[in-house]
């Protein structure tokens, strides 16, 4: 005892001696880059042994020489070095390191693992990364930020739909979408539209195979594990944020603005007496005042009637026949969205809570389309000795009001000299009113949009309760019960509109614009719009309970952790819809207000699963980890009382190995190499990928039945194979993680291969069997890829930090086997362009009809030897895969003092797309590619001469370029509208500024404030031959991606301003 005291005394003496010489006492606080204190940071004097540890609030006190440097460091943060100098108070802010080696990662089923122990690939996206572009939807905010994750924004509206696919497709016809896990609970995609991205603490992306094996078959496509904020220790913190942003059309298809409305009205057939060889003459004859097509003569500024005399008073609209600049773009609105939210968080040693309220209002680019979302979340946690209880609860209400009309298609069916923007008020403007609107075939877009509405309201409640009981130091139990309830009530309406007798029978075209074949009455007026109403409601209810026992026991050099789990899952849905195809009293939208019968339908589903699982992680000496998983599942989808249990229960398993080379052999560590980990995993997972109730042959009601009391049933068309069972996916994965230059550079490389056997697919069988489809386990696919993640800390100074990351992934797949004798089947699309599954090829494959190419391989296209029109080769030919094979994300963040700047780019490519929009716009003649209407020889063409010889075409002119070439020939050749689907998008960009603390303090209200300007998809670069639209768009969110049409409104860019206040 005496000895210790004397030693201390000696040390004290020593210190004081130094102090009196040239040493000063320095105090300060260590904070992170967001200003939160970093507890337990270490502060040492460079080159000396002097070191202290900061307290919980980051406060430290150390003595140091004026000329010395202090080195600040903390676990999970980068080191910072600063000269002591004259200043006595240091406020240091540390940046989080790119390396999270020592961090703990939440993996499948909520198991926490050290990053070092993990032998498979995962990624973590933090709240900051999610919120760069202030996207109101979580899914879009993940685009380009995780290698291996493809976010398909398949549609664009106030209620956009997305498809999240990890590592490509495995299943041919089953689900390929990633599982969404929210606070540990298995949920569904619904969550993506309802969750407030600001509530998200992080998203762990488990890319598949072994990573998500503990979710059972639900995790076969990988999982996005979303964890919401839980609150932090310390005083109550209040954060208010407002984001206001604008949506603008980023690009429209290329339009022509040279020709006005007209169609093929020229009365003489080629070769007939009277036929004019002058195309300008024929074009003039093709002009009609009421046409939707735009194959009239060239704009000349002359005064021409639009439509007809619209009433007995003789009212007519006569305007200059010349294009209005940007007429189509002006037809759309500028979208505005406003998001307000406030959050509260706080906690003490044993409890914490987080609460948030959000309101978001969106007005879309289609006039009158609106959406609103209001939500609240409350998360809380409390520890009582051995017991910890927590719950997370959120409820969200959302309203949508959207048109069901094809507004876009109506727009492209309007010539560019029509003052569409003045036609918005169809109730008051007699030329905009359907009784007076010029177009015989397509009604006023604003009328259609306003009178055909879908209005629906979503209510979502989702919550989990968790309880953990740490019975013994090495044993704990955990149970989590999660419930999600979604309901939607919907009313679709169509307003009644009855045409006037004048519009129906009398409206006429006066001289000098009339033609012989004119007829009185507006063509579209023959069919009154009788109105209608559809009332629908649907509910989805998911219950998921997980029970786990955690055993942790270290034996010698082995640390062991075993988790035994038991999982129960149930999902029920119900939807009911009733409708009436007409209403009696205008404006009253209730099915009681109708003529005739009600139509209606009901669908109810219920499915259940349970599973047992075990997960063992053993680590030897901290650097060699083996993780083994086993799971045994039972699913109702394959259950029948009389079926053998091996058809509906299935075991599966996997193992992963992680080896930290730099820990095993520290001698290889150098200034260059700081860390090296090798990893590999193998996994076999079962998948109950059969549609619900797929085991039964059904006898549905015949079409139209029952007619009164007459019942009619039909034998179903899909014949289920009697031995249907779950399919199996085998995944192997290997890779390495390396950190270089003192962790400034980190690189992760992964390669994987997934083999999916015995796929439950619906095989097309000959209809002559009496059935059209057979559901059977036959398909086999392979899916492989590589991922590379590079992160670089370019500058890491106290005031200036700059880092960048590159994420690249390559994924491809192949159909190994289908049913014997069957080489392909179709997902969907059109008869002339469809997405397909073809044996031996990647899937989906786009097939379209096309040109007849010259046999010599010159690429010349066959034309008719007499008419000069290109010939259609009607057989559907493969044009390539539709999924993006390469995905590259590039992100960077630069922080200088209180400014920060971040952005993310994404490139995707390696596939093709078909734009039906192109075909539509060729029909209407609005596409710029139809602009060349002068006599011509079809470019790069050949014909077969009388002797049967292929001859390059230098002589045969296209017979009628002003119409027939485009509408009757070019339009039908779908190959014309196939393009590479690559794009580069500036996904999000954000410049923010932290208001200076000195200023903030003066307010005495705020403790912090930030202002930011941001943008999403500010620019997009696409293939120069892609005249049409965003390659991400697709008419379906199912597996058959790759075809777009007018159902997707034009792509938009968004920009806005965000202010944040902390109290």
């Amino acid at each position: 005892m005496m000895k210790i005291v004397s030693t201390m005394f000696a040390m004290l003496l020593c210190f004081s001696m130094v102090a009196t010489a040239q040493v000063r006492v320095v105090t300060g606080t260590v904070k992170d880059d967001k200003g939160a204190p970093v507890p337990n940071a270490s502060v040492r004097v460079k080159g000396a042994t002097t070191a202290v540890v900061a307290d919980n609030q980051g406060n430290f006190r150390i003595s140091a020489d004026e000329n010395a440097s202090l080195v600040f460091s903390a676990v999970g943060f980068g080191e910072i070095e600063q000269k002591v100098g004259k200043s006595a108070v240091f406020n240091v802010s540390l940046a989080k390191t790119v390396s999270e080696l020592d961090g703990v990662v939440v993996t499948a089923q909520g198991l926490r693992k050290k990053a070092k122990e993990i032998g498979y690939s995962y990624a973590r996206v933090t709240t900051d990364e999610v919120n760069v572009g202030r996207s109101p939807q979580l899914a879009q905010a993940l685009s380009g930020k995780v290698s291996g994750l493809a976010v398909y924004n398949v549609n664009n509206s106030v209620d956009p739909s997305v498809k999240l696919v990890l590592r490509g497709y495995r299943s041919l016809t089953g689900n390929n979408d990633a599982l969404i896990v929210l606070d540990g609970m298995q949920t569904t995609n619904t969550v993506l539209a309802t969750i407030n991205p600001n509530d998200v603490e992080d998203v762990i992306v488990l890319k598949g195979g072994q990573a998500a094996a503990l979710y059972g078959s639900a995790g076969i496509n990988g999982a996005l594990v979303i964890t919401t904020k839980k609150g932090t220790k310390g005083r109550l913190k209040v954060n208010y944020s407002n984001a206001t942003n604008f949506d603008e059309i980023s690009f429209l298809p290329q339009f022509q603005d040279k020709f006005g409305n007209g169609s093929q009205y020229y009365p003489y057939v080629f070769g007939q007496a009277g036929y004019s060889s002058d195309y300008l003459v024929r074009m003039r004859e093709n002009w009609r005042s009421y046409e939707n097509q735009q194959y009239g003569d060239q704009y000349d500024g002359s005064a021409r009637i639009v439509g007809r005399i619209i009433n007995a008073q003789g009212d007519k609209l006569v305007i200059p026949y010349s294009a209005i600049p940007n007429a189509r773009r002006k037809s759309f609105d500028r979208g505005v969205s406003v998001n307000n939210q406030v959050s509260f968080q706080g906690g003490d040693e044993t409890s914490s809570f987080y609460m948030s309220l959000e309101n978001q209002k969106i007005a879309g680019i289609i006039p009158n389309d609106r959406a609103q979302r209001s939500g609240a979340r409350f998360n809380a946690k409390k520890e009582y000795g051995k017991v910890t209880a927590a719950f997370n609860l959120s409820f969200v209400q959302a309203d949508y009001d959207r048109t069901t009309a094809d507004f876009y298609n109506d727009i492209i069916n309007t010539a560019s000299h029509i003052p569409l923007n003045d036609m918005r008020d169809w109730r008051a403007n007699k030329f905009a009113n359907p009784n007076g609107y010029f177009n015989d075939y397509y009604n006023n877009p604003y009328f259609n949009a306003e009178t055909n509405r879908a209005r629906y309201k979503d209510a979502n409640i989702q919550g989990t309760t968790e309880i953990t009981y740490r019975m013994l130091p090495w044993l704990s139990f955990y149970n989590r019960l999660g419930v999600m309830n979604n309901s939607r009530t919907q009313k679709n309406i169509q307003e009644q509109f009855l045409y006037s007798g004048y519009a129906k029978n009398t409206a006429y075209i006066p001289a000098p614009w009339q033609h012989d074949d004119d007829y009185p009455g507006i063509y579209r007026a023959i069919t009154d719009q009788l109105g209608g109403v559809t009332d629908a409601s649907s509910t989805e209810n998911v219950v998921n309970n997980e029970f786990q026992a955690n055993i942790e026991k270290n034996v010698g050099d082995f640390t062991n952790r075993l988790v035994l789990g038991y999982s129960v899952y149930q999902r029920q849905t119900k939807s009911i819809s009733i409708s009436s195809g007409s209403i009696v009293v205008p404006g009253v939208y209730n099915i009681a207000n109708r003529q005739g019968n009600l139509a209606g339908s009901e669908t109810t589903t219920k499915e259940r699963k349970y599973g047992y699982y075990a997960d063992l992680t053993t680590t030897w000496k901290g650097y060699l980890s083996l993780n083994g998983t086993f799971r045994y599942d039972a699913t109702s989808r394959f259950y029948k009382a009389d079926r053998s249990s091996d058809l509906y229960t299935y075991p599966y398993y996997g193992a992963a190995l992680a080896f930290v080379v730099t820990d095993a052999f520290p001698q290889i560590k150098s200034k260059t190499l700081s860390y090296l980990k090798l990893k590999g995993s193998y996994n076999k997972n079962g998948n109950d990928n059969v549609s619900l109730y797929g085991l039964d042959l059904t006898y549905p009601n015949g079409s139209g039945f029952p007619f009164g009391n007459t019942v009619g049933l039909s034998v179903g068309n899909t014949l289920p194979d009697g031995n249907l069972k779950p399919e199996f996916v085998t995944s192997i994965e290997g890779g390495l993680e390396v950190q270089l230059f003192k962790n400034k550079v980190s690189l992760e490389l992964t390669a994987y291969n997934q083999d999916s056997k015995g796929q439950v697919i619906t095989v097309k069988i000959p209809n002559s069997t009496g059935f059209s489809n057979l559901l059977i386990n036959v398909g086999q696919t392979k899916n492989w890829g590589y991922e590379a993640d590079l992160r670089v800390q370019i500058i890491n100074k106290s005031k200036l930090r700059w880092d960048a990351s590159v994420k690249y992934s390559y994924n491809d797949n192949k159909v190994i086997d289908l049913y014997p004798g069957i080489n392909e089947f179709q997902y969907g699309g059109y008869s002339y362009a469809s997405t397909n599954v073809i044996k031996g090829m990647r899937f989906p494959i786009l097939k379209t009809n096309g040109y007849n190419y010259a046999p010599d391989g010159s690429g010349m296209r066959q034309v008719n030897a007499t008419t000069g029109y290109p010939l259609l080769n009607s057989s559907l030919v493969s044009r390539g895969g539709t999924l993006a094979r390469d995905i590259l994300g590039l992100g960077s963040r630069l922080v200088y003092n209180d400014f920060s700047f971040s952005f993310n780019f994404e490139y995707r490519g390696g596939g093709v797309m078909y734009s039906d929009l192109g075909r539509q716009m060729t029909f209407t003649g609005s596409g710029k590619w139809t602009e060349n209407r002068a006599p011509q020889i079809f470019a790069n063409s050949y014909y077969v001469d009388a002797a049967g010889k292929a001859t390059p075409n230098t002589t045969v002119q296209v017979r009628e370029t002003e119409y027939a070439l485009w509408v009757n020939n070019y339009r039908l050749i779908s190959e014309n509208f196939v393009n590479p689907n690559w794009f580069i998008k500036l996904r999000d960009v954000n410049i923010s500024y932290n208001l200076p603390a000195s200023l903030i303090k003066k307010t005495k209200i705020f403790s912090g404030a930030q202002v930011a300007v941001y943008g999403r998809n500010l620019f997009t670069i696409i293939d120069k031959m892609n005249f049409y639209t965003d390659p991400e768009f697709s008419f379906t969110a199912g597996n058959g991606l790759g075809i777009n049409n007018t159902g997707q409104t034009p792509p938009v860019r968004q920009y806005g301003i965000n202010v944040n206040f902390q109290f």
Partner: protein, 506 residues
């Protein structure tokens, strides 16, 4: 250690409180029925047979030169330029789907205690197969409709199928004779309401149609005469004053209208369908009727230019004078806007008459078939003469479209070639022409079949086609080719302009 094992036991117990098998027993489809009975299946099957005919009759009406389209929209090149592939005109899938339902009834009627549905199902099966052969030639028959037992049915020779159909109908007629309907289930028979005699008449009419199709094949006389004589001796008769039409109970509700009315007429609420603008009577039809002074029927086949007057159903907007009836040259793509030519007339469409039965076979057709058989094969034991069957057939054709016997008699005595039997220079051509008219608006596909068999009447080629090729059949559909490729390929290369159906001996 003791405590430890206790805990482990506890965990095991907790996990062991797993689920019983019954937890999974929620896999019975609550949305679609898991079983059916023949009575319900045949009701739908009959209705589907009629709805399957709608598109097919449209095609036949075009290709037999009765209808074409106005120029209110782009003409489909498939119909009017004959540019079509094995992806177009797939009636096959619908037919076989329908056949499966009949097969279900045939297989299950006895077991379900409803044997009286077996016969009608067999006759209807033959009816559908007759169309399949007429459109595609060789088709799967003996190995077809066996589900997973035969996943790649081989094709049977078309002539053999035709012969099997006669046997199948005979078999069905025996079943009908031996199993009287239980009245409780008569409503499931949406065609004849359980009338045995009408089913037998229909069956015989179908046999006459099948036999008559083969009447130009040389060396077939013996077979045809023998079969016709069997029909005569059966004594059950044929459709001679009534038509075979079915009505499941059409009402003014979406999806429950007469399908023709629904397609080309009006909605359940009386709004005119946009499709009403498209089908138009051909110039050939209109001018032929004008030339033979058959204006009674002209005014029934079409409305005067301008169409039906919505507020005066059944009557044209414009005066129903001959000059107001304009036909459209077949396949022309300009110059004939919808209001300038004859829309489908009151024989087919009258606003509000949404509950007319869907006619699948007419007395007129049967009688004119008898006329042809008697004319070609005097040896048949039919009691009437070719002329008497012809004249009865024309009278029935007038009745069918809503014109009077008096008008029919006027035409029959007009002295006009191809109308007045006695005055006609070529009796077979008169029969063919009158049959073509009798089928107009009601049975386009049969009109096309008759045209292919006789090449009569000599309707003009489509304006859009430069050569004289006309489709003589359809391609085997892509769906069958994709899933039963070897058997389809075994039928050889199909050229729709050259590969003829076996009864087409031109």
């Amino acid at each position: 250690m003791k405590i430890k094992s206790l805990y482990i036991l506890g965990i095991a117990a907790l996990i062991g409180v797993g689920c019983k098998k019954s937890f999974l027993d929620v896999n019975t489809n609550p949305n679609s029925l898991p079983s059916a009975t023949p009575a319900f299946v045949i009701a739908n099957a009959l209705n589907v047979t009629s709805t399957n005919m709608v598109g097919l009759n449209e095609l036949g009406s075009y290709w037999s030169g009765q209808w074409t389209q106005s120029n209110g929209y782009i003409l489909a090149t498939t119909y009017f330029s004959y540019v079509f592939t094995n992806g177009d005109f797939n009636y096959w899938d619908g037919f076989y789907d329908n056949l499966e339902d009949y097969q279900y009834v045939i297989n299950g009627a006895d077991g379900a205690g409803q044997p009286y549905f077996k016969g009608p199902a067999k006759v209807m099966k033959a009816f559908v197969y007759q169309h399949l052969v007429d459109l595609y030639g060789n088709v799967p028959f003996t190995e077809a409709l066996k589900g997973s037992a035969v996943l790649a049915p081989k094709f049977d020779d078309q002539k053999a199928v035709y012969e099997s159909l006669i046997t199948l109908i005979d078999d069905g007629m025996n079943d009908i004779k031996n199993n009287a309907f239980e009245s409780a289930y008569a409503s499931s028979d949406i065609m004849f309401k359980g009338s045995q005699s009408k089913w037998l008449q229909f069956a015989n009419s179908l046999k006459l149609r099948i036999l008559n199709h083969q009447s130009r094949i040389s060396g077939r006389d013996g077979y045809i005469v023998a079969e016709v004589n069997k029909i005569v001796s059966s004594g059950a008769g044929w459709l001679s004053t009534t038509d075979a039409g079915l009505n499941p109970g059409y009402v003014a509700a979406a999806g429950q209208l007469n399908p023709v009315y629904n397609n080309w007429g009006y909605s359940e609420t009386g709004a005119k369908r946009a499709n009403n603008n498209f089908p138009r009577l051909t110039q050939f039809l209109v001018n032929s009727l004008k030339a033979t002074n058959d204006t009674f029927r002209l005014k029934r086949y079409g409305y005067a230019n301008g169409g039906e007057n919505g507020s005066n159903p059944g009557v044209s907007v414009n005066a129903e004078v001959i000059t107001n009836y304009t036909g459209v040259p077949f396949g022309i793509s300009s110059g004939f806007l919808p209001a300038g030519c004859c829309a489908l007339g009151p024989s087919l469409l009258v606003k509000g008459e949404l509950g007319r039965p869907y006619v699948i076979m007419t007395a007129a057709e049967t009688l004119l078939s008898l006329a042809e058989l008697k004319q070609r094969f005097p040896a048949v034991t039919l009691s009437g003469t070719a002329q008497s069957y012809y004249e009865d057939g024309v009278r029935q054709a007038f009745r069918l479209v809503g014109s009077s016997t008096t008008n029919a008699n006027t035409l029959l005595a007009s002295g006009v070639d191809n109308c007045d039997f006695t005055a006609s220079t070529n009796k077979l051509s008169a029969i063919a022409y009158q049959k073509w008219l009798a089928l107009c608006n009601f049975n386009g596909v049969e009109a096309w079949t008759e045209y292919r068999k006789t090449r009569l009447p000599n309707t003009p080629q489509s304006v859009q086609v430069v050569n004289s090729d006309r489709p003589l059949r359809l391609f085997y559909p892509l769906t069958e080719f994709g899933s039963n490729g070897a058997n389809v390929s075994a039928q050889g290369t199909i050229d729709v302009f050259k590969t003829k159906i076996f009864w087409d001996v031109n």
